[in-house]
Subunit: 166 residues, 3 copies
């Protein structure tokens, strides 16, 4: 019985790891549809109550769930929406440590232009996440435009460790 | 023993959820390589027998597995292929309810132009899926070009609920 | 007890499948951040000791972990980095057979141009992977630019089988 008990506990732990990763995928893939459909409440709900979105496009960070939610009402965002825009993230690389996690990925904003699309922005993204009573939420999202300068490169470099045994 | 039985059943159910999500990832990532390699049979096989593809690019929906398969033979698709094209979807957000599921994501068509690429199309996508005896298949794919009009925004908004506990 | 033993063994095997797929996602999503942050060691470490990267952009394949690592020092890569670049892969389709796997996906290189971005390259990718004592590693990555010619189409076609029961 002890042997079965041990195997069961190991399975439960391994499954939890995959469920955590999956829940983070689900959280991050909610972002684009939420902002592109101008759903302020859904956008804010992806963050923790005191979560922060530090974007290289905004003069100051968006602070708190309401602050983040409000980004969909900003003039610049509304301008994008009226033109036709899509906020798309890439498959993230995720490092989970207990109740915290870091997801590193790229984001792009595509804008309608004439009869096709322009790649308006490409950014490196670091999402610092926290397991809350309501599931995984964003504590701090930092994004940096991909530029000749190296700020976005530092962000990418620290998000992805050398691959280890798995 | 009852306790072990209960834990085992819970594990089996949780694992099934992840396997379903994963099977849908595998199904959707088959679409691009199938149409870009002009594999009509593989493309059709992703849909249910009576599945539908309602695209904002086509005057009428593609109906049935054979109807969907035939899209790779359309003049517009063949024109793209001759120019060099890539149909790429983003990581989808997936909501599973028993034997049905909805996947919401973005798709892009990149076209070779001169010595680089043009973003020819960006669309919001809703894939309504069904678990069949042969695995998950597409019952209805709806895609809408990202435009100033708001049809694609409604599609995005209804695909992604507010995040819940997980 | 036998029944529980059988169910446990089945669960362990199913979980292993998902963990393998997940480990491959993690490996492939390490590539972009590694090359875009010019981390030669991290880039090389994604490959097996004798792994190969056969790129349609390079006159000869990059051979061995050190050879692959060195690609971040190439003049062409350094030029991209100085301009501001992002190497982004799409969600891969993965076929696992024991200790080998094939992942098929698209990759794009976005380059900063003026105040927005150009899609510099779009390629079809085939990653042949191997389970090593240190986890999954790349044995052979083949990428082919999406072109009017059909080389990339053959690569895409052979990577994705018709969907099967799951």
């Amino acid at each position: 019985m002890t042997n079965m008990e041990t195997r069961m506990a190991a399975l439960e732990q391994r499954l939890q790891q995959l469920e955590d990763q999956n829940a983070i995928y689900q959280l991050l893939t909610s972002y684009g549809p939420s902002v592109d459909s101008c759903s302020a409440a859904k956008t804010g709900a992806l963050w923790t109550e005191d979560g922060v979105y530090d974007s290289s496009l905004a003069a100051t960070p968006f602070v708190g769930r309401d602050g983040v939610a409000d980004l969909v009402n900003q003039e610049s965002h509304q301008g994008y929406v009226k033109q036709g825009c899509a906020h798309v993230i890439s498959l993230p690389h995720i490092v989970i440590s207990g109740d915290s996690a870091v997801a590193t990925c790229y984001s792009r904003v595509y804008l309608r232009e004439g009869d096709h699309y322009r790649v308006e922005r490409v950014s490196a993204n670091r999402w610092e996440l926290e397991r809350t009573g309501q599931g995984w939420r964003v504590k701090l999202r930092t994004n940096r435009l991909v530029m000749p300068a190296d700020e976005h490169r530092a962000l990418l470099g620290r998000g992805v460790p050398e691959p280890h045994a798995n």
